[in-house]
């Protein structure tokens, strides 16, 4: 088990390092002169100012040195400053990261709370009308674009019924975006849980359990659920990453002040340091959470926890 985790941690670190490389290169992939574009977005574009800007960003030095500089600064928690207003990027992102995480966590909670039981019920009544009904709803849910669902929920609950605020911060502001993201992902969780459970129910050891004369409920609770937990947990890791992706769009609909909205603004303002910071923080968050869930996976699956 320790070796599995050490491997997983090392992989995570490698992935984050790869991200820093990608992020350093990002600014050079921009067609045309990035500094010209970036600087054009703010005051003054005289050649000396451009040169001074290029020097300040360190873009005139060789790529390797730039990367080392970037990593060194990263270790000191410094992600450079924004082009517009010279605000430290790290502070700007860390100020908003909790909002995105809260949204992703709330959506995960909703998606799991709805998705797991529905998926399980569909697997349990496989082939019967309940299964087809639930799965038809699920596939419709998967097909509805979450930004459209967001608009519909906003129109009904915030504009017409005025139960909830359209946007803004605080608990009330979180309900609609989390519902949007949670509902649209609940369908995916349901479909995945169903196929995972069906796969487990068709295993030989379930048939052995029945052959031992165990009661149906006991077989379900002890054998199927416990064995089904492992694939479900692996699914949650991918689901969280998917949720973070969805959060970017939903934040823009409901004016939820997370890093997603910050990223979109930065793209429009071509504020590359902010974009670089965003990509790094987003990737690191996703990787960290997947490692945490792998930890949970390793604990649940004795084949990894206990060496053969």
């Amino acid at each position: 088990m320790a070796r599995f985790l050490a491997g997983r941690l090392l992989m995570g670190l490698l992935a984050i390092l790869a991200t820093t490389v990608a992020v350093t290169l990002l600014i050079h992939l921009v067609p045309g002169d990035p500094v010209q574009i970036m600087y054009a977005q703010s005051q003054g574009t005289t050649p000396e100012q451009l040169a001074e800007m290029r020097h300040m960003l360190g873009l005139d030095r060789p790529i390797l040195e730039q990367w080392l500089r970037f990593v060194l600064h990263l270790l000191h928690g410094d992600l450079g400053v924004t082009i517009r207003g010279q605000q430290p990027v790290a502070q700007l992102i860390l100020q908003r990261l909790p909002n995105t995480l809260a949204l992703a966590a709330a959506s995960m909670a909703i998606a799991t709370a709805i998705g797991l039981p529905v998926g399980f019920a569909a697997a349990w009544w496989r082939g019967r009308w309940a299964d087809t009904a639930l799965m038809t709803v699920a596939i419709a849910g998967v097909s509805v674009p979450h930004f459209w669902l967001g608009l519909i929920l906003m129109s009904v609950f915030a504009v017409q019924l005025e139960w909830l605020p359209v946007g803004g911060t605080g608990w009330a502001g979180l309900v609609l975006p989390a519902a949007t993201l949670g509902l649209s992902n609940a369908a995916i969780v349901a479909r995945m849980t169903r196929s995972a459970m069906i796969e487990v129910m068709s295993q030989d050891f379930v048939r052995t359990a029945y052959a031992k004369g165990l009661l149906r409920a006991l077989v379900l609770r002890r054998h199927v659920l416990r064995a089904g937990l492992v694939p479900v947990v692996t699914m949650m890791a991918m689901q969280f990453a998917y949720m973070m992706g969805g959060a970017i769009v939903v934040e823009n609909i409901f004016a939820w002040n997370g890093i997603g909205r910050l990223a979109i603004e930065a793209i429009f303002q071509r504020d590359y340091p902010v974009i670089q910071g965003f990509i790094l923080v987003f990737a690191t968050t996703v990787i960290t959470v997947s490692i945490l869930l792998d930890l949970l996976y390793a604990v649940l699956d004795p084949r990894i926890r206990v060496r053969g």
Partner: protein, 563 residues
């Protein structure tokens, strides 16, 4: 207690649009061992599953009765069914690797049935489980109960299954091919164990198998099934001595007998076509960080194959026989040693020269389902090696492929069919035809018949022998079944844990085995003759390392234990 424990009358099971079991009737007396024998697709497994109501969703019982202790098993309500299952009828399945829940401990999976059926407390149930594990010869049972299934070998898991079933003192134990997935030596021990336990508990045994040897070893009475119908039912002695149905007779004839006389004429001695010199191979788990322990598959193998000679390599799983076959066919590279084929060292070749030279060594595999590319019509598949080596133009290659298919007994008009439209036996023939297309000098056959039904097995073996004689091919025949090898090979090499323990002419080795492991191996092979049932089983000796091969008689080498 009525005279019969289980009375099945007119059982009919419908699945996939057809009746797979038609009006089957049989009875099992208390304490009796009834064997249900038949080839794949005969419906024997479905019959067993229907008794416990475990039929897969696609299948359902349409007619018939199964009276057992006053209940009709086919129509009993779920509450009663769960009281009968496990408590009155135990079941053991074929595949030990997946029969246990990987995420639960052995202890929990053994005690849960005990606690439900006999209301034992956790402590007494655990003690009972421990007692039964010791009874099925599993060491340190207390520790084993805390372990997980992946920490036990296949044989041990099957023993756990049997212990779990018998601990409930069932009246009837249903065993569906319990030892098919196990090695010969372990198979013998598990069968013996099962017979003793059943007799001890006074239960009856319904044994489902396709292996007549196992039937001869275990059964009191036999029911032969074919395509869902009963063909013949008789006491085991009479069935083997005087089979009445033709199908039974062909079945018995097709079973290779260990004691059959070998009539192979050894070729005259000449320069070896293939020389395997000190081949060694160790598999290291890949991946930068997963430092698993390296596994030594081959530890210094020396073997010669003369032109036109059939050499059989026999050993249990993990002995390295398949690895050796794949190294000879240059599918994997050895760590040490050389392979001299017609004097050229295959291991040194690479790229275009390797691709040309290796045509001389072709391979036939075990799994007929995957031996042919599902997207290619068989005609084109057989012609491909010819096209690859430019031995002939496209049309000529096609014609030659027709001739090859005819040679392996397949009519010409099937050329354009896809592999999925052929049976296992036919597909193996096509695979052989493709191997011959490259006009090889040596054919490496890795368990070519072990996935086929017994009757088909015999035909393919005869085909191989005939082709070998007619074309003067050399054949490296790899198998775990000594009986199969008996009447096809000139020489035989017995392998264990990556080393050859004994090799020599087939008759010499099989009739006068000198190495203790060979003797144990031979004693474990089930002989399809009920009369020779009770002979003693020899235990396999501990692994001897460092000993060297000594020639005890011309061409007969034995690895002596270290002096």
């Amino acid at each position: 207690m009525s005279v019969t424990l289980l009375d099945v009358r007119g059982l009919t099971i419908h699945a996939g649009g057809a009746d797979v079991v038609r009006t089957l009737s049989f009875a099992v007396a208390p304490g009796e061992v009834l064997a249900l024998v038949g080839e794949s697709g005969s419906g024997k497994t479905l019959t067993a599953l229907s008794l416990l109501g475990l039929l897969p969703q696609a299948a359902r019982v349409v007619a018939g009765q199964a009276l057992f202790e006053g209940h009709d098993l086919l129509r009993v309500d779920p509450a009663m069914q769960s009281r009968i299952r496990g408590a009155r009828i135990g079941m053991v399945f074929q595949e030990p690797m997946t029969a246990l829940n990987p995420v639960l401990t052995i202890g929990l999976q053994m005690t849960e049935a005990l606690r439900q059926h006999r209301g034992l407390s956790a402590g007494t149930a655990r003690a009972e489980a421990e007692r039964w594990l010791r009874r099925v010869e599993i060491d340190d049972p207390a520790a084993r109960l805390r372990q997980y299934p992946h920490q036990l070998s296949g044989g041990m898991r099957q023993r756990v299954m049997i212990a779990a079933a018998m601990a409930l003192h069932p009246a009837l134990l249903v065993a569906d091919e319990p030892t098919t997935a196990l090695d010969v030596t372990i198979q013998a021990q598990v069968l013996g164990l099962m017979r003793d336990l059943v007799r001890e508990v006074g239960a009856s045994l319904l044994l489902i198998t396709h292996d007549m040897g196992v039937v001869a070893e275990m059964a009191d009475r036999v029911l032969v099934m074919r395509a869902g119908e009963a063909v013949e039912e008789a006491p085991v002695a009479r069935l083997f001595a005087a089979p009445r149905a033709d199908y039974t007779r062909t079945l018995l004839a097709a079973v290779p007998r260990l004691d059959a006389v070998t009539a192979m004429v050894p070729p005259e001695v000449a320069a070896p076509l293939l020389r395997i010199e000190r081949i060694g191979k160790t598999f290291r788990p890949d991946g930068l960080w997963r430092r698993g322990s390296p596994v030594t598959a081959l530890d210094g193998i020396d073997l010669d194959i003369l032109p036109g000679e059939i050499v059989a390599v026999v050993g249990e799983s993990g002995s390295g026989k398949s690895t050796l076959g794949r190294i000879v066919a240059r599918l994997i590279a050895p760590d040490r040693g050389r392979i001299l084929f017609r004097g050229i060292d295959l291991t040194a070749l690479s790229g275009r020269r390797l691709r040309h030279a290796r045509a001389g060594v072709q391979m036939v595999f075990q799994d007929p389902l995957a031996s042919l590319d599902p997207c290619w019509p068989v005609g084109r598949a057989v012609a491909e090696p010819i096209v690859i080596h430019g031995l002939a133009g496209r049309r000529e290659a096609f014609a030659r492929a027709c001739r090859l298919l005819a040679e392996v007994g397949l009519p010409e008009h099937l050329m354009t069919r896809l592999p999925r439209e052929f049976s296992g036996g036919q597909r193996q023939r096509i695979a052989i035809a493709r191997a011959l297309a490259a006009e090889p000098a040596l054919l490496v056959a890795d368990e070519p018949t072990s996935a086929l039904d017994v009757s088909v097995q015999a035909q393919v073996l005869d085909l191989l022998a005939a082709l070998q004689r007619r074309r003067g091919l050399s054949l490296l025949f790899i198998s775990h079944d000594i009986a199969v090898v008996r009447h096809i090979s000139h020489r035989i090499a017995v392998m264990r844990a990556g080393r050859i323990v004994e090799s020599g002419p087939t008759a010499a080795v099989l009739d006068g085995p000198r190495h203790p492991y060979t003797r144990a191996l031979l004693s474990a092979v089930p002989v399809p003759d009920p009369a020779r049932r009770q002979r003693a089983r020899l235990p396999s000796p501990p692994l001897a390392t460092g000993a060297s091969l000594v020639e005890v008689s011309p061409g007969h080498w034995v690895r002596e234990a270290a002096a």
